[in-house]
C-alpha cells in the first residue's frame, strides 16, 4: 500500500454584507481591527498585525513596544477576489521559517452588496514533526466527539 492521502485542510466561510472590494480591504488593511488580540507572538501586548499589500510582502505583527514579529508572507495579492498568505507559526505561536503552510482567502460576490469569504488553511501535514509540541499546547478535552463534528463540518462545506 503506497497511497498518498493528504490531510484535509481547515475550511471556514463567512458571509458579510459588503461588496468584495470592501470585504477585502477590511481583511487586509483593516486586519488590526479584527485580529484576535489574545493571539500574539511578541513579548509585549499586540499593537497591530500588518499585511503588506503586495505579492512577496511581509505579514507581521507589531507589539506596543514597537518590536516586529513575523507571521509569514503574502504569496498571492489579487484584490478584490483572492489572497494567499503563508502562515509560519507553530502551535506554540512561534515563527518558524522552515514551516510553510498556506492560508487562501477568496472573496466571492454573494447577491447585491454581499460577499462570501471562504478561508482554507492547508499543508497541515507540514506540522507533522511538531506533534509533540502541539500535544503539550492544546487541550484535547473536547475529545473525539468534537473532532468528528469538525470533520462533519468540513465535509459540509
Amino acid at each position: 500500500m503506497n497511497q498518498t492521502v493528504m490531510p484535509a485542510p481547515v475550511r471556514k466561510s463567512v458571509r458579510v454584507d459588503a461588496p468584495p472590494e470592501r470585504a477585502f480591504e477590511v481583511f487586509t488593511a483593516g486586519i488590526g481591527r479584527w485580529w484576535p488580540k489574545s493571539h500574539h507572538i511578541g513579548a509585549s501586548d499586540l499593537d497591530a498585525p500588518v499585511i503588506e499589500p503586495k505579492a512577496g510582502g511581509r505579514w507581521y505583527e507589531r507589539g506596543v513596544d514597537g518590536v516586529e514579529c513575523e507571521i509569514g508572507k503574502v504569496l498571492v495579492w489579487e484584490p478584490p477576489a483572492r489572497l494567499v498568505l503563508v502562515w509560519q507559526l507553530t502551535a506554540d505561536w512561534k515563527y518558524d521559517r522552515n514551516l510553510v503552510t498556506e492560508v487562501e482567502v477568496r472573496f466571492i460576490p454573494d447577491g447585491a452588496g454581499a460577499t462570501r469569504v471562504e478561508l482554507e488553511h492547508r499543508n497541515l501535514e507540514r506540522y507533522g514533526d511538531r506533534a509533540d509540541v502541539l500535544r503539550g499546547q492544546i487541550d484535547s478535552a473536547g475529545g473525539w466527539s468534537s473532532l468528528l463534528q469538525l470533520f462533519a463540518e468540513a465535509a459540509a462545506h
Partner: protein, 104 residues
C-alpha cells in the same frame, strides 16, 4: 506518530466510517465489517492504518481483538486551527459590519 498520519488516515472515506463506528464503542473486526460494504480483510487493513496513525488502539478480549478510539491520538492541530479561524472570521465579519455602518 505524527499528525500527518492521523489526518491522512482520516481523509479516506471508508476509514472515516470505521473510525466513526468505533465512536459508538469498542468493536471487533467482524462487528465492524457487518455494517460496512467492504470485506473483513479490508476492514483489518483500514484498522491497521488507523492504528499506525495513533487514532485507534486494540486489546485482546477472549479469543478475538477489539478496537477502540485512542483518546490521545486525535487531531489537535485541526481543532486548534479550526477554532482559531472560526473566532477570527467571526471578529472579521463583525468588523465589516461596523465599517459599513461607519460609511452610512
Amino acid at each position: 506518530m505524527t499528525y500527518d498520519n492521523a489526518l491522512a488516515a482520516l481523509a479516506d472515506p471508508t476509514r472515516r466510517r470505521v473510525f466513526e463506528k468505533l465512536s459508538a464503542g469498542p468493536k471487533s473486526v467482524g462487528a465492524l465489517a457487518r455494517g460496512l460494504p467492504v470485506s473483513r480483510p479490508a476492514v483489518s487493513q483500514h484498522l491497521r492504518v488507523l492504528k499506525d496513525a495513533g487514532l485507534v488502539a486494540d486489546r485482546p478480549e477472549g479469543t478475538r481483538r477489539v478496537y477502540y478510539i485512542d483518546p490521545h491520538g486525535l487531531g489537535a492541530l485541526r481543532k486548534w486551527l479550526d477554532q482559531f479561524w472560526g473566532a477570527a472570521l467571526d471578529a472579521y465579519a463583525e468588523e465589516v459590519m461596523q465599517a459599513e455602518r461607519r460609511r452610512r
